[in-house]
């Protein structure tokens, strides 16, 4: 029922207020004496010479793509799992076909070395 979510909404508003108060307090409380050295980025005592925003390793991109595939799979599992006591063998047969496709995909990625991390 949609009315079940009203407390959630109220709690969301309260949480936003709390977070807003915390952020505001972070500006108000405590001394503020900035100087050039202090505002520098920390790099273990060395003055940074290059900007920090480098190009990222493609590894992270690959991980994110694989995550999308398998996390969407996990979401498909939920409604199936809840209704399995109604679907029974029919549900098992249907889901196992889907799962087989994904397991083949996982095996393929594994063999191609997509899960290695050098």
């Amino acid at each position: 029922m949609i009315s079940d979510y009203v407390p959630l909404l109220i709690f969301l508003v309260i949480s936003f207020l709390v977070v807003g108060a915390l952020v505001t307090a972070s500006f108000l409380i405590g001394p503020s004496k900035p100087n050039q050295r202090k505002l520098q980025v920390y790099e273990s005592g060395i003055v940074p010479t290059t900007p920090a925003r480098h190009r990222l390793s493609v590894r992270f991109y690959l991980t994110a793509m694989l995550f999308i595939i398998f996390d969407v799979e996990a979401v498909f599992f939920y409604p199936w799992a809840v209704l399995l006591h109604v679907l029974r063998w029919y549900g098992i047969a249907e889901m196992f076909v889907f799962m087989l496709v994904l397991l083949v995909a996982l095996a393929h990625i594994w063999r191609k070395g997509g899960l290695e991390w050098e």
Partner: protein, 371 residues
């Protein structure tokens, strides 16, 4: 049900009061989880831990908190201001909202209280806790520091890798209970607690949850020896305190969810007052024997246990179970060394993910065959 009174006005007053009480107790409890961790790790390493401020160091966290928030919270040069501030805010917001659907019912006279009782409680929790990735990645990216960037990236990759096994580990529970509603899962009556029905799920859940909350031995995002502070290297004062608060709130939240899903939440043996008195006396003698608190303190603790347990609220058993899981968390931290990053990713992708899929398959087959 949440319908406390038929009068709608008083109903919402009670709901609001419950929310404010939850917020207050969350922040206090979080501080004492940190304290518990420091004391337990101290004793595991054969040193006393914090014991100077207040009786047995009990006020240590209050002092630490005041010191942390009154420190200068400066903003380094060249940061992306909006995302720099948004990151700790998202962290705290996600940590608070996760608690909104956790059923920690207190009941008096058959009426129970909780914030929200929604039919997709678990999904709400997953949806909200997934926002942590944003907090960590934005924090790392906006800081304009190499350590922060690397820490944030690593952490994001770690979180999304373990999120799959975390999500899949609970699928057998949904198969068995046939519901996503946390209250239904908690009240599932199958003769056994769900941890014994689906033990593999519990193990996978616990490992993934440790990785999801960036705790040792999976605390790679803040591996001090290589990344200084990881994604929060450039955060100081209050903003750092927000990240810190969020981390410990998340730890308590995943422990609470494990309690609700696997350990039966607030259910526990129904005892009469004589047995409660016996338990209180046992607690008193144990504390006296451990010499952790002076005799008077032990008496106070025993009295609190007796009074609290005597109310016969499910909150008592709920808190005991949450504390037990928290203790395992702390125990892990003080026992296991940190994993190397490639080992961490391999564990997630090559061990936990296939294992959780197999777990789903086996549970589904056994479930349909038996029912």
């Amino acid at each position: 049900m949440t319908n406390l009174y038929n009068d709608p006005f008083w109903h919402w007053i009670v709901v609001l009061a419950a929310m404010l009480a939850l917020l207050f107790s969350l922040v206090t409890a979080t501080a004492y989880v940190v304290f518990l961790e420091r004391v337990v790790i101290g004793h595991i390493q054969r040193r006393p831990g914090p014991n100077r401020v207040g009786p047995r160091g009990f006020l240590q966290m209050a002092v630490d908190g005041i010191k942390l928030v009154t420190k200068e919270s400066f903003i380094p040069r060249n940061v992306d201001l909006f995302t720099y501030i948004a990151a700790p805010s998202i962290a705290v917001l996600a940590a608070l909202l996760t608690w909104s659907v956790v059923p920690f019912a207190i009941w008096f006279g058959g009426v129970s209280y909780w914030i929200a009782n929604v039919n997709i409680g678990i999904l709400v929790i997953f949806a909200i806790s997934a926002m942590n990735v944003y907090a960590i990645m934005l924090g790392g990216y906006s800081s304009n520091s190499k350590y922060s960037l690397l820490g944030g990236l690593r952490s994001a990759a770690q979180l999304i890798s373990y999120e799959m096994s975390l999500g899949l580990s609970l699928v057998p529970i949904f198969i068995i209970t046939g519901s996503l509603r946390l209250q239904t899962i908690e009240g599932w009556h199958g003769g056994l607690p769900l941890i014994l029905v689906a033990p593999l799920s519990f193990v996978i859940y616990l490992i993934s949850a440790v990785a999801e909350t960036n705790r040792a031995p999976f605390d790679l995002p803040e591996a001090e020896s290589e990344l200084v502070g990881g994604y929060h290297t450039e955060y100081s004062g209050f903003k750092f305190a927000m990240f810190y608060l969020a981390e410990y709130m998340n730890i308590t939240a995943v422990s609470a969810i494990a309690t609700v899903v696997f350990l039966g939440g607030g259910s526990g043996p129904v005892l009469n007052w004589v047995l409660w008195l016996a338990i209180a006396v046992a607690v008193f003698l144990l504390l006296l024997w451990s010499r952790f608190v002076p005799p008077f303190g032990a008496l106070v603790v025993a009295a609190i246990v007796f009074a609290f347990a005597g109310l016969d609220t499910p909150l008592f058993w709920f808190l005991i179970k949450v504390l037990a899981i928290l203790f395992v968390y702390i125990w892990l931290r003080s026992t296991l060394p940190r994993l190397r990053y490639d080992m961490l990713m391999q564990l997630g992708w090559k061990v936990l993910l296939p294992l959780s899929i197999v777990n789903v398959i086996v549970t589904a087959l056994v479930f349909v065959a038996l029912t």
